[in-house]
Assembly symmetry: C2
Homo-oligomer: 321 residues x 2
């Protein structure tokens, strides 16, 4: 998405909500007394592990796929993805009955690749670099005429991801803050759009791995940091903040909390034990950000988007330590 492209707006989130309503789940908002007690706050968890495909990614993918004209749709869609977006796009494409090509780097999590393949998508493996992924994607696009649906730097995807926050705000009125994870920034910038229409000025806190804190540096410096090597257990948050995502988050005035992996893993265990919900490290990081800064959240009513739950219960990260 070139820097000159107009950014999606709040109305695009409303359009997305209507477009995906027949397909996506309105996931529940969950609570747990023990987590409220641990945080000294009221925590309202939007449970996207219960979304189709096990992550919020289905919202954006679905909005993109059902935005296509029939002629575009007939040529299919293509993306590169470390997992959840690829699975989501495959699911959405299957629902519309069109082809889906997914470029997946070596090292992507096995359960996520299995989800993608199970939906009938064509997998194209490549080296785990951004450059290799984009090159392979372009090759497939030129060969098939498929429409590229970028995992996060895409207006339709951003608007779709915003519907998670839209639903949370409707079901849990009176929030004092919203906390979401940030990687490429699809979920986060969608949240900013939803807030801008429903609760303008509500603080938006982004939870980011300390080992992949490009968003922290980018928003602080006012310039996108695109040159870093991610080192984090949060496999969904290793990407670089997208360009439109940066502009939206910068414009909204989102704040970033950098979180150590050890805190994220502890939060993941707490969510399983207390909320009974299996979430990915990339989702648990949002609770970890809250627990790491008790003074900031004490006594507040805090919305938290738990982004996904595609993780192998036999290799939970705390058991491996």
């Amino acid at each position: 998405m070139p820097a000159s492209t107009p950014l999606p707006q709040f109305d695009d989130v409303l359009d997305a909500a209507a477009r995906i309503a027949p397909h996506a789940r309105a996931t529940p908002v969950l609570r747990a007394d023990a987590l409220d007690a641990a945080a000294g706050a009221s925590l309202l968890f939007k449970a996207e592990p219960l979304q189709h495909g096990g992550a919020f990614k289905f919202r954006g993918a679905c909005n993109a796929v059902f935005s296509l004209s029939d002629a575009e749709a007939a040529r299919g869609v293509v993306t590169h993805s470390s997992g959840n977006h690829g699975a989501a796009l495959a699911l959405a494409a299957r629902r519309r009955g069109i082809a889906c090509h997914v470029v997946a780097p070596q090292g992507a999590a096995a359960p996520k690749l299995a989800l993608i393949a199970a939906q009938g998508a064509v997998l194209h493996r490549c080296e785990p670099t951004i450059a290799a992924r984009e090159a392979m994607c372009e090759r497939v696009r030129q060969a098939t005429g498929a429409t590229l649906v970028h995992p996060y730097a895409d207006a339709r995807v951003i608007a779709g991801q915003g519907t998670a926050t839209l639903e949370l705000l409707a079901e849990a009125p009176g929030l004092d803050l919203l906390v979401v994870p940030v990687g490429g920034g699809g979920l986060a910038s969608g949240a900013a759009l939803a807030l801008s229409g429903c609760a303008p000025g509500l603080p938006l806190v982004l939870a980011e791995p300390a080992g992949a804190a490009d968003t922290l540096r980018s928003l602080r410096g006012g310039v996108r940091d695109v040159d870093f090597v991610p080192d984090t257990v949060c496999d969904g948050l290793r990407g670089t903040l997208g360009e439109p995502n940066f502009r939206i988050l910068h414009g909204y005035g989102a704040e970033v909390v950098a979180v150590d992996d050890a805190d994220t893993i502890a939060a993941m265990r707490l969510l399983l034990t207390r909320l009974k919900l299996l979430v990915e490290p990339s989702a648990a990081i949002a609770l970890a950000a809250v627990l790491a800064q008790p003074a900031r959240f004490a006594g507040r009513r805090v919305g938290i988007v738990l982004s996904g739950g595609n993780v192998d219960p036999d290799t939970l990260p705390w058991a491996a330590r």
Copy 2:
């Protein structure tokens, strides 16, 4: 509860719903595509692991505690429980600000005892036999004047547990069957009462461990089987079907499916992987019953009450095998 005591009725479930509404959570109904595909049916899971205390037991305990007169309440409550009911009664008593005594047998699950103690209840340990538990309970009752709140053979408890089914029927209309676990029969007989008012004649299927199948034998023979030694991983389902519970379930015409522990453990793993929800074996057994009889449930819309989720994620039963 003597055999002459009148049984609770549908109206008691409605009264319970109003009484506990300020205190209990209206837990969500969850779904997972992969589980629907595995069963060849539409499965709607009432998620009681998300109830206060992590199990449906809070409903019955809360109804009992808030049914007491002020004079009765001032003397507190007492129960014997392998865990979840004890924790639930402690929570409910704390909410009303009254004393709670819990008689817990040796061998009860540590996370459940911790929950009880954390609520300020007085723990009284005893041998793991029904006789020892009842004797200790009676001793406490005589010393304190506390009201006995039996885990399941109690009209107020049964009516309270019925509210889980009441909510499920309201949120998921058009069910073809309802499946619930059965141990002492509090949840199951409450479900029968709720069905009798809201969906009379709807088949009620009880999932019972093959190693503790007294309900199967009792309903088949028309006489309560009270002489058996339970052998099952389902620690919440080792009790003997209660007398009023038997009468209600027999009157409703409930059917029983006996389930092997291995199937229950496989279902527990499936629920964690696919529904992302951590449930006890005593809850997972209900899904196991559905998966064990595909022909019976194929193409149907099936309500399933997942009863609780108090289990240690570090000692999951499939990892121990």
